[in-house]
Symmetry: D2
Subunit: 272 residues, 4 copies
C-alpha cells in the first residue's frame, strides 16, 4: 500500500514582490500623480509624519487605486476545499493551480489538527465552531485518514487499469492537497483579508438609551470603537483553514506595507 | 454660426432590467442555492419578515455574490468630464459610448446651473465646494459659453477643411456632451454609489472622554450611528455633476430593490 | 444504508435574460450609440441584411463591448470537479453555489456514462481521450460507485458524531453534485465557450509548397478555412463534462442570439 | 500671456517589473505548477528549446493564466483623448491619473506632428487615415494652437475669479496633457496591444476557386499566413496617438519577455 502523508497545515510562501523595497512609498508615488506635489499642508494638518498621513487619508476616504501599483506573488499548498473558496475571489487575483487532468496527484491529505474547532454552535445566521471533545477529535481523525486511504487506493486502481487521470481523480476527496501560485496587489489582498479573517467588531451596541452631546440615542444605536487596533467594521465568519492561509498573507502584507497595514486595521479592515 | 445647445443637467434613463419584477426576490433565490431551504428560523430570529431579514443578513455580513444575479441597463447623456470619472469603475460595469472618431459630435455643452457650487473651501484633504456669488456665477457662465462657441467653431473649421473627425475633435472641451449605454448589477451599482454620492458620516466623534458600559473611552473614540437612515460609514466627496447622475441611478435602484436599498443604507452604504 | 443517486449528466437550465426578446438587436442598439445613426452604407457594402451585417462587422473587428449589454442567468447542477473549472472564469461571470459549510450535501454523485471517453491517448501537449473497452468502463463504474458509497457513509458518521458540516465534508469526493446560479453576458459566454468546447481547427497546414497569387508558400504555411461553419481558430481540449455543460449554454446562446452566434462561429470562435 | 508648451509625442516610461529578470521563466514556473515536472518529452516533440517550446505551446492553446504572474509599471504622459481610450481597458490594468479637481493643469497641449495622418479615407467600416497636404497640416496646427491658447486663457480667468479647479477645467480641450501610472501584467498587455496596434492581417483571401489537397475551395475561403512574423489574425484600426503609446509598451514587452513576444506574434497577436 502507498504511504499517505497527512498534514494539518496550509503552506503559504512569499515568492516575489514589486517593488522590492519600500512598498508603502509606491502608494504615495501613485497618489501624487493625481495632485499637486506641494501637499505638505495636508500632512501637517493630519499631524502625523507625511507618508503615513497620506496613506491614512487614502484609506479613510477609500481612494483605492493607489494601492494597486504593486504586486505580491505567493506559492500555496492547501486542500482542494480551501482552493474552492480562494478562487471565488475574481478581481485582481491571478491563479495557476496543479491540474489533476495533466498530473497524478500525490497521496497528501489534510486532517484537522487538535486545535481545529470541530463543533458548530449558535443559531442559523450567527454560528461559530468550537472545540470538540478529545473523543470527537480522535473519531474525526480516524475516519478522515481511513477515507483518504480508501479513496487513494481506488485512484491507483483506476490508474492501474489504464483509466485517464481526469477520470480516475473523480474518486479523490476534497481534503487532498493541491498547490498554486497566486499573484495579487495590496488592494485585492485587503479585500481577500476582509472576508477571510475573523476579527471582533470594532463597536458594541448600547442596550439602554445613551445621551451624548445633548442628543439621546436609543438602544442599538451607539457604536464604540475598540481601544485596541484591528477590529472589523463588518466582521466575517471564515472557514478555519482558509483563515490560516489568510493570516500568513496578512503577516507578509504587514511586513511589506507596515503603514498601509496599520491604516487598514485602524479604519475597520474594509478594503479601500 | 451654429446654434449651440447649453444644458445644466445630466440625463440618466432606465432602459431595462433582469428580472422584470420583484428584483429583491432574485437575491434570495441566489442566496438559497447555497444553503438548506428550510431557513425560516434565521429570519424568525432576526425578527423581521423573511425576505427582508435575509437581505439584511447578507448585507451586514457582506455576502456580496447574491446581489450580482440581476442586471440594469441605463442610457446616459453627460459631459465628457463626467464620463471620465464614471469609466474608472472597471468591475461589473459595461459601457458603450459615442465615438468622436466615428461620429461628428453635435454642439451640445454643459454649463453650471445656479445651484452648482462654484467655490472650493477648506484645507487640503478636507475640501468642499460652496456656492459662489451671483457675479461669480455670471462670469463662469459667460466664459464657458464663449469658450464652447469658440471651440466648436474651430471644430467645424477643421471638419470643413477635410480633416478627419478624430483629429478635429482635439479642439473640443471636456464640457461637450457625450452619451452611453451602461449596464451593471446591484452589487456594482452599490460600489459606484458608495463613491459617487456624498452622505454625512453615520457617526460623530466624542470630544471629551465618555464612560459607557463601565469603560471610559478617550476622545475620538466614540461613534454614534445617526438616527436617520442613510449615513455613510466612509463618506465620499464626489464631483457635483457625477453625483447628480448617481442620484438618478440610486432612485431607480431604490424603486427596483426596495429592501436591498434600505439594508444598504442602514449598514453604512458600503457595497457588500 | 442511504440510497445513493448516480447521474451521468450535467444539468444546465436557462432561467432568465435581459432583454426578453430580440437580443441581437440590443447589440446594435449599443453599437449605434458610438456612431452616426445613418450607417446604411456600411451594411450595404457588406452586402448582407443590415443587423446581421453590423454584428458580423463588430465580430470581425473584435469590437467587444456592444456584446455586454445583456444578461443570461442559468441554473446548473454538476459535480464539484466541473465547478472547479467553471469558477476559474473570473470576468463577467457571477456565481452563487451551494455551500457545504451551511448545508448538508445530498447523496448525489457523478459516474461516467458509456459514451464518456476513458482512455488518454497521444503525446504530451497533444492528448485526447478515447473510449475504453467495455471492461474498463465496467471497472470504472464499479469503483466510482463503491468509492462514493464509502465516502458518503463516512460523511454521515461524522455528522452523526456531531461534527460540523464544514469538517465532515472533507471526506466527500469531487464527483459529488453541487448546484449554482451563474449569470453572464454574451461576451463572457463567448470567452467561456471558446475554451470549454472542442472544435476542429478551421484550417489545415500544407505539407508541400503551394503557389498562390504568384507567391510560393513553404509547407506549414497555408491555412484553409473549412467550408462548414464552426471551426476554431484556436482549438481547445476541454474536459468532457464541462463541454457537456458548455454545449447547453451554447444552444441557448444560439437560440437567443442567432446572428451573433453565426458570426462568432464564422470568425473562428474567438470572443470579440 | 502664459507660455504654452506644445508636444506631438506621447511619453511612456517603464518604471518597474516583477520579477526583475528572466520574466519568460516566471511563465514556465507558473505553468509547471499545473503539471508533472518531467515534461521534457513535450519540449522534445515540439523540437525547440524547452522554455520557448513551452511558451509557444501555452500561446497556441490559449492557456492564459501563466502569463499573469508578473507585473509591469509604466508612467505615461498623454493628452486626455488618449487616456479616454486607454481607460476603457478594465481587466488587469490599474490606473492612477492626475486629477483636474485636485491640481491645476499646466499649459501643455498636444498638436499633431507632420507624420500624423490627417485625412479619413475609405468607406464606412473600412476606413483609414492618410497624410493630408502641407496646407491642411499647417491649418490644423494653427487652429489647434490657437484653440489651446484661448481655452487656457479662459481657464486662468476662471481660476483668477476664485472659481474651483473642478469647474474651471470645463473649458479645457481634450488635447491637454495628463499623466498617469499604469500597472498591468503580460496577459493584459497582450490584450491591450491586440486592439491598440495596427498590423496587416496574417492571411489573404483567394479571389478565384483554389484546389488544395484534393478539395476545391470557393473564393474568400483560403487564408495564407504571411511569411513574415507579426501579422494579426484580427486586424485593428487604432487611433494613431494611442498606437504610439502602445508601441512603446510593446517594445518594453518584447525586451522583457522575448520568447513570449515572439510566440504571441507568431500565433496572430491574439491574447491567450
Amino acid at each position: 500500500m502507498t504511504d499517505l502523508i497527512f498534514r494539518s497545515d496550509v503552506l503559504v510562501k512569499f515568492k516575489d514582490s514589486m517593488p522590492h523595497q519600500n512598498l508603502d512609498d509606491s502608494i504615495i508615488e501613485a497618489m501624487l500623480v493625481s495632485s499637486d506635489k506641494d501637499d505638505d499642508l495636508m500632512a501637517e494638518l493630519l499631524d502625523i509624519p507625511k507618508t503615513e498621513g497620506r496613506i491614512r487619508f487614502l484609506m479613510k476616504k477609500r481612494h483605492g487605486t493607489p494601492f494597486e501599483h504593486n504586486a505580491m506573488k505567493f506559492y500555496v499548498e492547501a486542500p482542494i476545499f480551501v482552493f474552492r473558496e480562494w478562487h471565488r475571489h475574481r478581481i485582481g487575483q491571478s491563479y495557476n493551480e496543479q491540474s489533476a487532468r495533466y498530473s497524478e496527484l500525490p497521496p497528501m491529505f489534510y486532517v484537522p489538527g487538535v486545535e481545529r474547532p470541530l463543533i458548530q454552535q449558535g443559531k442559523p445566521g450567527n454560528q461559530t465552531t468550537v472545540p470538540g471533545t478529545e473523543d470527537q477529535w480522535r473519531f474525526t481523525d480516524e475516519i478522515i485518514r481511513k477515507n483518504s486511504a480508501v479513496c487513494y487506493e481506488h485512484y491507483l486502481q483506476l490508474l492501474g487499469a489504464g483509466i485517464a487521470k481526469e477520470v480516475a481523480r473523480m474518486v479523490l476527496p476534497v481534503n487532498i492537497f493541491s498547490k498554486m501560485y497566486c499573484t495579487l496587489n495590496a488592494r485585492s489582498l485587503m479585500a481577500f483579508l476582509s472576508l477571510r479573517t475573523k476579527e471582533e467588531p470594532m463597536y458594541v451596541e448600547n442596550e439602554e438609551p445613551v445621551t451624548f452631546d445633548g442628543v439621546t440615542y436609543p438602544p442599538g444605536f451607539i457604536l464604540i470603537k475598540r481601544d485596541e487596533p484591528g477590529g472589523a467594521m463588518y466582521p466575517s465568519g471564515p472557514l478555519w483553514e482558509i483563515e490560516q492561509a489568510a493570516r500568513i498573507t496578512e503577516a507578509v502584507f504587514s511586513a511589506l506595507f507596515p503603514m498601509t497595514y496599520r491604516a487598514w486595521c485602524d479604519f475597520g479592515r474594509v478594503a479601500p
